[in-house]
């Protein structure tokens, strides 16, 4: 029984890292630009497909697939930002929401038309050896996901807090006009944060291909969780999002494993927790008010 629990917890933590990876890029972008980017999930989905095709068509390692997805989605994000979002940013929030929601639905439907709605499984050989600790086994791909997810997360945190561009991002989101007076090109800084968020989405798409299935609607499932995680952690609070991911993945994972027919319950219970937290602490668990 205890090994079963430990096993379930470890697998849930690897899912937490995956959720955190998806949320990491989103929380950077949302925290800086305030654009609620619904299409982030579709960026993740595109990264998953790219990693999948690179492996199944060309036999390229998913390590390479993740990196390539990161670059590809960074480029797509730059195009989306310049061609489209930069204009919408100057309009009111409703328009921004509708714009990114529209983009999300557009990409999703194009993907369904092009690739069919059916799920695919990558079946790549494990990237890392399986971990075996006294009867508890953790598949190598889950370890890889946990590692890459954490690295991605720490990278987002470090960029925001310890680089000159990170400081400029925080200035630009605090007070864009004042940031411009300080010599910061706010539009470029917003674009940069959007591009970095897009790259993170691409890499986390590669993680999705490793441990989940590859399917056009996978992005929707993940982005809903990412928004829940951001709400749990507090908007723009990157460490808070990490803990939010763990809470979400653990409740989901443990419910699926130990409650009869829990597979269908897990997602729902996780959101009940989210709703409760939001009622008690509207600014998230780690709640300094995110934007005073």
């Amino acid at each position: 029984m205890t090994t079963a629990v430990i096993q379930a917890v470890l697998l849930a933590l690897s899912m937490a890292a995956l959720y955190a990876a998806v949320a990491a890029g989103l929380t950077l972008t949302v925290g800086v630009t305030r654009i609620i980017n619904f299409a982030h999930g579709e960026f993740v989905m595109l990264g998953a497909f790219l990693t999948y095709w690179l492996y199944t068509r060309f036999g390229l390692s998913p390590w390479f697939g993740m990196a390539a997805s990161g670059v590809a989605l960074a480029i797509l994000s730059a195009a989306v930002y310049r061609g489209f979002l930069a204009r919408v940013l100057k309009q009111d929030e409703h328009n921004q929401l509708l714009a990114t929601l529209g983009l999300s639905i557009l990409i999703l439907n194009l993907a369904i038309i092009a690739w069919s709605p059916d799920p695919r499984v990558m079946q790549a050989p494990p990237l890392l050896p399986t971990l075996n600790l006294g009867g508890v086994t953790v598949p190598g791909n889950n370890i890889a996901v946990a590692l890459v997810g954490l690295i991605l997360f720490v990278a987002m945190y470090a960029i925001r807090n310890y680089t000159r561009y990170g400081t400029q991002m925080r200035f630009a989101s605090d007070d864009p006009t004042l940031a411009a007076h300080a010599g910061i090109n706010v539009d470029r800084v917003f674009e940069l944060s959007f591009v970095i968020g897009g790259a993170a989405a691409g890499v986390s798409g590669g993680l999705v291909a490793l441990v989940l299935y590859v399917q056009p609607t996978i992005g929707v499932d993940l982005v809903i969780r990412a928004f829940a995680i951001i709400a749990l952690g507090g908007l723009g609070n990157i460490p808070g999002a990490l803990i939010g991911s763990a809470i979400l993945a653990l409740t989901e994972g443990l419910t699926s494993t130990f409650v009869p027919q829990g597979g269908s319950w897990g997602f729902g219970i996780a959101f009940v927790i989210l709703l409760l937290v939001l009622v008690v602490r509207p600014s998230g668990l780690f709640g300094k008010q995110a934007h005073p």
Binding site: R170, A179, A180, A182
Partner: protein, 240 residues
């Protein structure tokens, strides 16, 4: 030498023209004070200089270089620093990050020596900042934030410093200290200062030139002495 010349036409908000026409000149080591009652258009005029409000025409020259078409954020790189009213700071960043971020935004390959020098200069003018380096700017008092706002502007090594009512809401002692600091900035850094102010009596201690705005129009201009000695205008516009 830092000679700054600017002229504006039709500055305002959409259809509403607040400043029909205005020209200002100020040289390095001098301060021009922009006076006028509430709603006279001081803030609008200053914002128009840095491109924050709508203008029909804007011409800016700094040491002969034409900066008329320069977008707002680039003006800081050209040496024009603007300190808006309300002691605005980046509230979720620390004092240190506020200063360092402003330095880094305008100095490409930041050399530690000039950063050190600028930090020392800021601490020299406003010693309290040294003690509060790790405090979040948003949690500081209004007076401290105003000092930080000015110090932050100095981190870009400005040739022209534009300030909007830096002493609004401050206690008399602090007003005196702040003007004293601005006087030192003016004489030691050689930058040209344009400052909006309501309090003529306090501003004359540091100002050299004076421009009075009345409902968006320049009503009176000259050296501080000239304006002070012109009793009729002084009474009419300054209530002194």
């Amino acid at each position: 030498m830092n000679r700054f010349e600017a002229s504006l036409e039709r500055a305002g908000y959409g259809e509403l023209v607040v400043i029909p026409q205005l020209a200002i000149q100020v040289s390095g080591g001098e301060m021009l004070v922009l006076l006028g009652p509430n709603g006279a258009g001081k803030t609008t005029a200053l914002k128009a200089l840095v491109g924050d409000v709508d203008v029909g025409r804007r011409a800016l020259r700094l040491d002969g270089a034409d900066l008329s078409g320069t977008p707002g954020w680039r003006l800081a790189h050209a040496g024009i620093a603007f300190v808006p009213d309300g002691a605005r700071c980046f509230g979720t960043a620390t004092v240190h990050e506020n200063l360092r971020g402003a330095f880094e935004a305008t100095h490409r390959h930041a050399d530690a020596a000039s950063r050190r020098r600028l930090f020392d200069r800021a601490f020299d003018l406003f010693p309290i900042l040294r003690q509060r380096l790790d405090q979040l700017a948003g949690s500081m008092s209004g007076g401290q934030r105003q000092m930080l706002a000015i110090a932050r502007a100095l981190m870009i090594q400005p040739k022209v410093l534009i300030l909007d009512e830096p002493t609004a809401g401050l206690a008399p002692k602090l007003v005196e200290e702040l003007f004293e600091a601005l006087g030192r900035i003016k004489t030691t850094s050689g930058c040209a200062i344009v400052m909006a102010e309501q309090n003529f009596a306090a501003a004359v201690s540091v100002a050299d030139h004076c421009l009075v705005l009345d409902e968006g129009r320049p009503a009176l201009a000259g050296t501080v002495e000239q304006v002070r000695s012109n009793e009729k205008l002084r009474v009419a516009y300054l209530g002194l």
